[in-house]
Symmetry: C2
């Protein structure tokens, strides 16, 4: 298997996202190796040795995706026995020309605490945890969005992702079996109807997920899953609540759709 | 302020990460606009209109970073009145030549549920929540890593980030004032000493953070913060527990350092 290295003097997240997006266009598997915080010449020489060893042992030049601020470490990696993709550098000149100013690279700017969005994110994580799964229903005036849906439809991971990635304060509230006889919005949700965003999921997928937690229970039965989904979707339509079916989507996709559909303000880019 | 658009038929996360990394090399501010899920010709035409309007009203061509799989939508965006950076495409040919096979673009491959790492991530999020803040100390044999540290040193956001981004099962356990008289590892931690990773933080920063939660308390006093940090750092050294000072680092940086220093296996790339 061909090896792909993602290397940086920072987190290497940018290299990873770019390299992964590029390699995912090809229908073959890669061995992925991420090496963050290559901040010294010694460390860079060590990494170069590692790359050269892989090249020698496999007989195939590894791919290297890197972002470096300091030239002295970058040049060492560039001299490795590998196919190097210095993808940022390629675009720097065109942007310099377009903006009419020179680039001013600075370490740790992309994923660092110095973004002023940082405190928002930690606050948002604390908010998501305190307002997870209906554990608190009295603080919804501070929520940016309130996710609603049945148990295991993706509310908690989506709330946490919105908080960690975007600094968005997302509460979430579950509709349970007890609510189903005559499903309606409780007053604390009705009061914030504009903030509600519904999640739904195919009953078969919900049944699979619930069965993994409580096999052969009423909770996990396909009959129960079908009934709950039918009821919440009816509610979403009746109350004109925006909603999405999460079955085929990842947490990234669900979050991106919620932000776009609800027109949420992001605190972080 | 110059506008930068991040556009895609998927989440637009790849465009954002790349564009943000590139623009962060320049010491000026941008207005950022992300438009995900541009999947139809109609939607693409609407976005083109939006770009052209910004260009006309501001008198400056916006920057557009995009990733598209389908040529019919991409071509519409490419024909906008903007500076277009089709950054993936530029690198496709060199990789095709290197690998000797053609690219096979497919929608929603980069950030989609179809990665087999997906279930790991949801499991890891559930694990992090169930094992947050010492709420459960009996399941550490299933943890990939156990973060330890004093209250507000960054344990919870780091655990959640490790889970959501990498599928790593991270528990976390707090050392509290009651533990400080004679700080040592409780048996349930000592048993899993190899999995422990310590967080520390500058006492002044800790004091600031705690004061935001409980002003003028013993808990938030600088004296108390200094004492707790002194004690946990002493413990880390005595027990030879890997640790990092989180003061100057973002959640991304803390997580990347933990993965690198503890040699953790990632379930997602």
């Amino acid at each position: 298997m061909r090896t792909a290295f993602y290397i940086s003097d920072g987190t290497a997240i940018t290299s990873e996202v770019f390299g992964h997006a590029l390699l995912s266009l090809f229908p073959i598997e890669f061995e992925h190796v991420t090496i963050p915080f290559v901040e010294t010449v010694d460390k860079a020489l060590e990494v170069k040795k590692q790359i050269n060893l892989v090249s020698k042992q496999s007989g195939e030049k590894p791919f290297v995706f890197h972002t470096f601020v300091k030239p002295e470490t970058r040049e060492i990696i560039d001299s490795s026995d590998a196919v190097i993709y210095n993808f940022l550098e390629h675009f720097v000149s065109p942007v310099e020309q377009e903006l009419g100013i020179p680039a001013k690279p600075k370490s740790h700017r992309t994923h660092s605490i110095h973004e002023n969005s940082y405190d928002y994110r930690i606050d948002a994580v604390n908010f998501a945890l305190a307002n997870d799964d209906g554990s608190k229903v009295t603080d919804y005036e501070h929520a940016d969005v309130i996710l609603v849906g049945v148990s295991r439809s993706g509310k908690t991971p989506s709330s946490l992702y919105l908080a960690l990635q975007y600094g968005i304060k997302a509460a979430n509230y579950p509709f349970t079996d007890d609510d189903m006889d005559e499903l309606k919005l409780p007053p604390f949700l009705a009061k914030h109807k504009k903030k509600l965003f519904g999640l739904t999921i195919d009953p078969e997928r919900l049944h699979d997920i619930r069965d993994g937690r409580r096999a052969n229970s009423k909770y996990s039965s396909l009959r129960q899953c079908r009934m709950e989904i039918r009821e919440v979707e009816k509610l979403y339509k009746k109350e004109r609540i925006n909603y999405i079916n999460t079955t085929a989507f990842s947490v990234e996709e669900i979050s991106a759709k919620i932000i776009a559909d609800a027109g949420l303000h992001r605190y972080k880019y």
